[in-house]
Symmetry: C2
Subunit: 144 residues, 2 copies
DNA sequence: CATTACTATTACGTTAACGTCAACTATGAC
DNA sequence: GTCATAGTTGACGTTAACGTAATAGTAATG
């Protein structure tokens, strides 16, 4: 239609933009999460695909399964047409939120329990004159 | 030795005591997490096995992998003999704790983000006159 | 003796989300 | 032509922690 090639991007550009692998994008397409158009054989990802991918990655952060995300994206697409769809999306998100809150609570108590065990261990070690090396603030983003 | 059959218990008794399946116990044995003695073919779980199983289940709560738990149990068994082993256990637990804290933080922000999305959704739904059914406080501990 | 209740071993199935590899195709540079 | 680069499809591999048969043995009970 026009020359704005930034309207679509290749698989590699997508990978660089969103830090995913080609395999991931093809996988998402096979799962009907993305619908890149084809230029011959090649995939070209549109603005819509980019928007969807953003939502997919967000969804993963929230712990939704890909299948769940697919459903949510479909509801999104239908959009305003059916009110009930929006409510359904809301409901799914609410359920997910409750699960996450539960997980957080479990994690909180588990952390507490483990901390107590560690304190107990410190006493034992200390009573035997073993020194505890305090971890030197492990660096995040360590490339192996 | 004596008549106290409560010293050891059968696989079924173990299952009832710790709410696991026979498959799980056999699996743990195959992974060298448990070492039941044999009466002919049958497995008999000793006090030691019960203690280990308790620790295994605790470890799972903390998110340790079974392989990790196996190593920890081995260190436990060796016990006082080698000081370094205790320190190693302590170290592993500390690492695990840090991972858990990270997870909790991620979960906390994810929850926050999702809550914001939900509030946004509520406004949209509200502006369209769609009523939101507040979940009737889902019951925890629901035995299916 | 037959049935029922447990148990054992072996081995393949499950789930999610990709990774890895092989074999091919298409395109542009030189 | 041919080398390099990027892309494609297809299919099998991976990981964890068991689940699920299928088959067989053993023991107590009626």
């Amino acid at each position: 239609m026009n020359k704005m090639t930034t309207e679509v991007c290749t698989i590699k550009e997508m990978c660089d933009l969103y830090r995913v692998t080609p395999r991931t994008l093809r996988f998402y397409e096979s799962k009907e999460l993305l619908f890149p158009i084809r230029e011959g054989q090649r995939r070209l990802f549109t603005r819509r695909d980019r928007a969807r991918l953003k939502l997919i990655l967000q969804g993963k952060r929230f712990g939704f399964s890909l299948e769940n995300i697919r459903q949510l994206l479909n509801l999104y697409d239908i959009g305003d047409q059916q009110k009930t769809q929006l409510a359904k999306t809301y409901e799914l998100a609410t359920e997910r939120l409750m699960v996450m809150v539960d997980q957080k609570n479990e994690l909180t108590t588990a952390i507490q329990d483990l901390k107590e065990m560690l304190q107990w261990g410190e006493k034992i070690l200390d009573s035997r004159g073993i020194k505890i090396e305090k971890q030197p603030k492990k660096r995040a983003g360590n490339n192996h």
